[in-house]
Symmetry: C2
Subunit: 771 residues, 2 copies
């Protein structure tokens, strides 16, 4: 087992790593030529542009103002300065709510840490079970702080029970407060929001086929009959998947063409050549520029033909439509009710935001949907349980004693103190991390196959799968497989009722492993997050190879988005660790506190300066977050029961049974009380907004506003000229109504505050057409 | 273990019992003085009246027509004759759907029985494992037909796997067809139904308190704002629980007064005396008639005062209301949507039928509701698991070998062959039955405390609790406790993963026990059901002691209602037994078939002739029925897996894992496809009915029709004069609209077919104002 010294070394390594990352970030971000990597959000919002307009060439690339290097950590207070309301304005409610997950971590764990260190640590420390006991396993100093140091059957276990109750009550209290706050934030956000097309629009799926009418006619007739007073207009959905592919291909060819042209312009002596075969590795050698130009022309023609076909061929119309209503009330009613006798036809739900729609999945019929769900459930089960084998293997490698036993010839190397500590402190965390990097993509593909209709739902489902995967493989996998190796397969053939006991026993022993995991994944990982190494490299590569115009540079700048599907399960894992170890080994808690605090600052900075908002779901993911914290709480209670069950403290265990029951009841209560705010839209609110709007703008041309809101993005023009033409047409149609359908990339507003490193929020945001 | 002879004796006993019951019924039902016991439904519907108008005195009491005794079983074809559509007209959709549960039992088990006897029985029989094996347990001939007779690790287990698949597929196929049929029956019923108040009405609960407005004003304002185009009227709910109690007390006193007066009129020499104290056992002796008259007068005054108080005191108005809309569309919209920001206020749901409302529970606030649910869940858990102890004790008594071992002095008596068979065949079933008689009342009280709003929901919840109880105590309890006694506590301390194996192993051995259970509970019990011994005795007692007028006689006639909360779990238990034993011991299947067939005929007869319809939920219970059959299927699959896991047929078990997965997926599919038809009301249907109605009756006075539909029954008049007055007023108000609020007891329609024993369905039903 790892000693204090091992942990100390690991901590030093990770703190140094984190500091190096932070320092590198502090230096890199001050260089103007990295500006687009570290502040892309301000470019996207049009509040900042390339620093080309003034100064010498050198100062455009390197920051020569030495004073600014002295304050290399001043981004931290900057990141914390922006008040929450401004943050919501700046980055959307989703981001603000996301940050509150870190805050809730602090809210839960700061008091728990203090209480645990004030009461549990002394209670554990003042025993000498581990020193005296003829234990079969070797224990270290760290274990003296944990529950392992309490003698069997001791009355001191009552302290742990009382603490378990206190921690549960405190967690539930914080969760309930937070749920209430976020529900009201969401409702307030939706009420104060400007007019958006999705407030008036409902997505209708599974329109039944009709031999006499087209989908469009059928939808119109159906809603004219069944929502006669409220129906306004509708927009059918085209199956433009092939068209989207062609456009994507054309874009890729265009990139290559740009690259070759740039290469040729730099070295005019030689025309660039390429091979036409697979990945440019085989086939005929041709002149690259000519070939790509021809290809692009061919694709342009094909795209035009396909576009023509899609809009004219009735078969390319999918049995789905976006139906818009005259009032929010009408839309709220339609979204919440069942339309037809057959509950699998005419399915209605709130339309997602136009940018949130996942177009490919709109046409999946009901039966196919349930079959897909079954397939994915089974596939996910296998994915989860087959990943376990390699992880268990890597875990077992990371155990010094195990390696020495198996491969005595490595003893010489391993016995070097530094390497030993390194292996124990570092390796298990990294091995796990590599596994986990591959995973989110697979999970996202699964969610897409399963048929969700909007990106936010895809991410939510991926996140919950990712969490489950983490729980089974990282959490349980680490505890059981690792301990199994140590305890010589002692309990491999134990039965299912023993599992809480087995895991419970393994938990205190795994405290040091999870401490190193927190340091590698949590501390260094978060510090690495702010450095944005991958976008930095890619930006400069693209900048060097492709960029010719200002627009190209804007495209090369890839801010990315928050990545709920990977980020949230990561946080949740720390909730799980914190709650499980709070009673068992409080020594772990401070490490988690540091993670939550650091991550909060870093992500607040990233959200303000970097990430682009992909969609706005108004915090729709909070029920998931809440549910998973509750699940972690229940798991921690069950494991504590299992652990105490082995401690001959038979009297105490029954007192723990009430805890999961109460926790689950609390969850049901919260679900009923707050969850509807995230699923439905109260008619009272809708009516209020409708009435207000009618009073303010009695002559509103709503039809014009909604008519083209839900067009497949491919028709909105990949070419800029089309786009502008389109926008122009739209503005003519409805002058009163500001549309959001301007290209998010071309922001004409000049930078007003490009000199300060982190711009303070200017009033200009209010005038900015993007919000 | 029981042998063929034991089973044979038990079968003979039970068949004789059943035949005696049937014969007694056949004779009793032909006696005119029992007519009101065996045909009350026809009296209630006003199609039959007391046979007072003709014939001699003797023929009024005893049927002297000897020929009619010869055809003593002719009620059976009569019961089957009525077509389903007429049955729905006559007894409501609930009853018709309830009968379909028996039919679905036949549909599932007839093919399964044939297949099992054609394939599984020969496969099992042609082994000799039991004869040769040095088994620790004694086996009997019956076990030779079961899976126990297959040698360990035999390839013959593949037959059982294939059969398990076949049975599952067939069951799912039948279930799916049936779900589709019943969903469409429900929708068709609701579409073809006459106008009913609940189609236009929504129940609103948790109206928030308002300092400035009364509940009534608040409700009116809220709906005038939020459903401006559709709101019609509303009816607040009074807290009349105390008033209802007073009325009940008065009625009881009135009954006693009638009794004493009758007694006095028969024996004028002596004034009847009574004691005023507890239960008439202590206290002063007073003149009974005078005392009761005075009491009734006092109560009448109190009732008047309380009635006055309830209608005038604002505190007696509960924060709930029945809100009626101009159209079915408006009501459907309001019932399916969320009204207010706070999802626990202004809760709306479909109003139940007026007669279905459970008035006491209308005012429970949301938080109290969730706490009640928690309390009842915990209480039900304890109820379920503490009942187990006495049952296990009785079960173990019923084992001859066990008794002989414990109490050798009883050996002489027990060894008499007849007594031995009697104990083994009869006792366990009866002991269980006695336990189960007490239970439904407790469960119903629990459901009431939990706060459901209508009687149908109360019964549904009680039914599902009863089923769970049966499953844990009767099914698992019998298998484990019994086997535990036999196997000398061999597996008491086994772990949870072993449980399917433990139960699976116990199953084949318990086949004979369950066969006797089916015969006692299923055969004889159902035959006893048709005899209606309790109502028969009570009717004649009341008739002798209380009845003075024709109206009294009608009140004494107590048809009862179907009792979904006890009847359905009983049927479900047979589904469970059938599905579990289909593969393991097919010998049980014919017994179940006989139960389903007999019960179908008997209940069809009872529904046609006896039971009064308490409410009409339009088959809302079918999702529960479906879900429980699925649960039984999954249990049977898990137990089969457990059983095969002990048979050293390791290769075969993995093939069974897919079965529960597929079954649960099938359930999810059905839930999505059909359940909404039982929960929501499609807008398309509502619109269609609205349009039709508007075309037919453009001048309909809907407000008059709905205004008083949802009055607390206590205000509808316990006295007849008030009632009639009330009805008269109502008819004046809205001549066009036939109301249902006439006393169901006073049916002026004279009997048209009182001579035939089971009246064929006359056209008169169409004219009958009751439907």
């Amino acid at each position: 087992m790892a000693t204090f010294a091992d942990i100390g070394l690991a901590a030093v390594i990770n703190i140094v790593t984190a500091l190096v990352f932070l320092l590198a970030f502090a230096i890199l971000r001050l260089q103007p030529f990295n500006d687009r990597v570290y502040f892309p959000k301000w470019y996207i919002k049009g509040l900042r542009s390339s620093p080309t307009h003034s100064g010498a060439f050198a100062s455009k690339i390197v920051n020569l103002d030495l004073r600014s290097y002295l304050k290399f950590l001043n981004w931290m207070p900057d990141a914390l300065k922006m008040p929450e309301l401004e943050l919501i304005d700046h980055a959307g409610l989703d981001s603000a709510v996301y940050l509150r997950i870190y805050l809730i971590g602090l809210k839960i764990f700061v008091p728990i840490t203090f209480l645990a260190w004030a009461i549990l640590v002394p209670v554990n420390w003042t025993n000498s079970t581990l020193e005296q006991g003829p234990s079969k396993l070797t224990y270290s100093d760290i274990d003296k702080l944990s529950i392992s140091n309490i003698p069997l059957g001791s009355l001191r276990f009552w302290t742990h029970i009382v603490m378990a109750y206190a921690f549960t009550l405190w967690t539930c209290y914080v969760l309930q407060k937070e749920y209430a706050t976020i529900a009201s934030m969401r409702l307030h956000f939706m009420a104060s929001e400007r007019r958006r097309p999705d407030q008036f629009t409902v997505l209708v799926r599974n329109v039944p086929p009709d031999p006499d009418e087209s989908v469009s006619e059928l939808v119109e007739h159906f809603f004219l009959v069944n929502h006669s007073d409220h129906y306004l207009t509708h927009q059918v959905v085209y199956n433009a998947n092939k068209l989207a592919e062609l456009v994507k291909e054309k874009k890729s060819k265009q990139n290559w063409l740009d690259y070759y042209q740039l290469k040729y312009s730099r070295n005019q002596s030689q025309r660039p050549m390429m091979k036409t075969g697979f990945l440019g590795l085989c086939g005929d050698r041709v002149d690259a520029i000519n070939h790509d130009t021809a290809e692009i022309e061919r694709l342009s023609k094909e795209i035009a033909a396909e576009r023509e076909r899609v809009t004219s061929d009735p078969k390319s119309i999918m049995p789905a439509a976006f139906v818009s209503f005259k009032t929010r009330w009408g839309a709220a009613v339609c979204a919440q009710t069942q339309q037809s006798r057959n509950p699998t036809l005419w399915l209605t739900e709130w339309a997602p935001e136009p940018r949130d729609v996942y177009w490919q999945n709109l046409a999946i019929p009901y039966v196919s949907l349930t079959i897909r769900r079954l397939i994915i459930t089974v596939a996910f089960f296998f994915l989860t349980f087959f990943f376990m084998i390699p992880i268990a293997f890597v875990q077992s490698l990371a155990n010094i004693e195990g390696i020495e036993k198996r491969a005595p010839y490595l003893k010489v190397i391993i016995d070097i103190k530094f390497i030993k500590s390194f292996i124990q402190g570092f390796l298990p965390g990294i091995a796990l991390k590599i596994f986990l990097i591959v995973l989110p993509t697979i999970l996202m593909l699964m969610s897409k196959f399963e048929g969700f209709l909007c990106i936010s739902a895809l991410e939510r489902r991926s996140a919950s799968r990712y969490y489950l995967f983490n729980f089974v493989n990282v959490f349980l996998g680490s505890i059981i497989a690792g301990t199994a190796f140590e305890q010589l397969n002692a309990f491999i053939k134990q039965s299912a009722r023993q599992i809480p006991k087995t895991i419970g026993v393994g938990i205190p022993m795994k405290a040091t492993f999870f401490i190193t995991y927190i340091m590698v994944d949590g501390w260094a990982g978060i510090a690495g997050e702010i450095l944005r190494l991958k976008p930095l490299i890619f930006f400069h590569l693209k900048n060097f190879l492709l960029v010719k115009t200002e627009k190209d540079r804007e495209e090369a700048m890839d801010p990315g988005s928050l990545g709920f599907d990977t980020g949230e399960p990561q946080i949740q894992f720390y909730f799980l660790l914190g709650l499980v170890y709070a009673v068992v080994a409080p020594v772990l808690l401070p490490f988690i506190l540091i993670f939550f605090a650091l991550a909060y600052v870093v992500f607040r900075h990233q959200i303000i300066n970097v990430y682009n908002q992909e969609y706005e779901s108004a915090g729709a993911f909070w029920p998931d977050v809440h549910g998973r914290i509750i699940a972690a709480l229940v798991v921690s209670q069950l494991l504590l029961m299992g652990l105490l069950g082995t401690k001959e403290a038979a009297l105490t265990t029954p007192f723990l049974i009430a805890l999961p029951v109460l926790t689950i009841w609390f969850h049901i209560f919260c679900k009923g009380r707050y969850e509807p705010a995230f699923v439905r839209y109260p008619l009272q609110e809708a009516k209020m907004k409708d009435t207000l709007e009618r009073a303010r703008e009695p002559n509103l041309n709503l039809k014009g506003y909604l008519q083209n809101a839900y067009i497949h993005p491919i028709f909105k023009g990949d070419d800029d000229d089309e786009d502008e033409e389109f926008n122009g047409k739209l503005e003519q149609e409805s002058v009163l109504v500001p549309t959001k359908r301007q290209s998010r990339r071309n922001t004409p507003v000049p930078s007003k505050i490009s000199s300060s490193s982190t711009p303070s929020l200017p009033d200009a945001i209010e005038e900015n057409p993007e919000r």
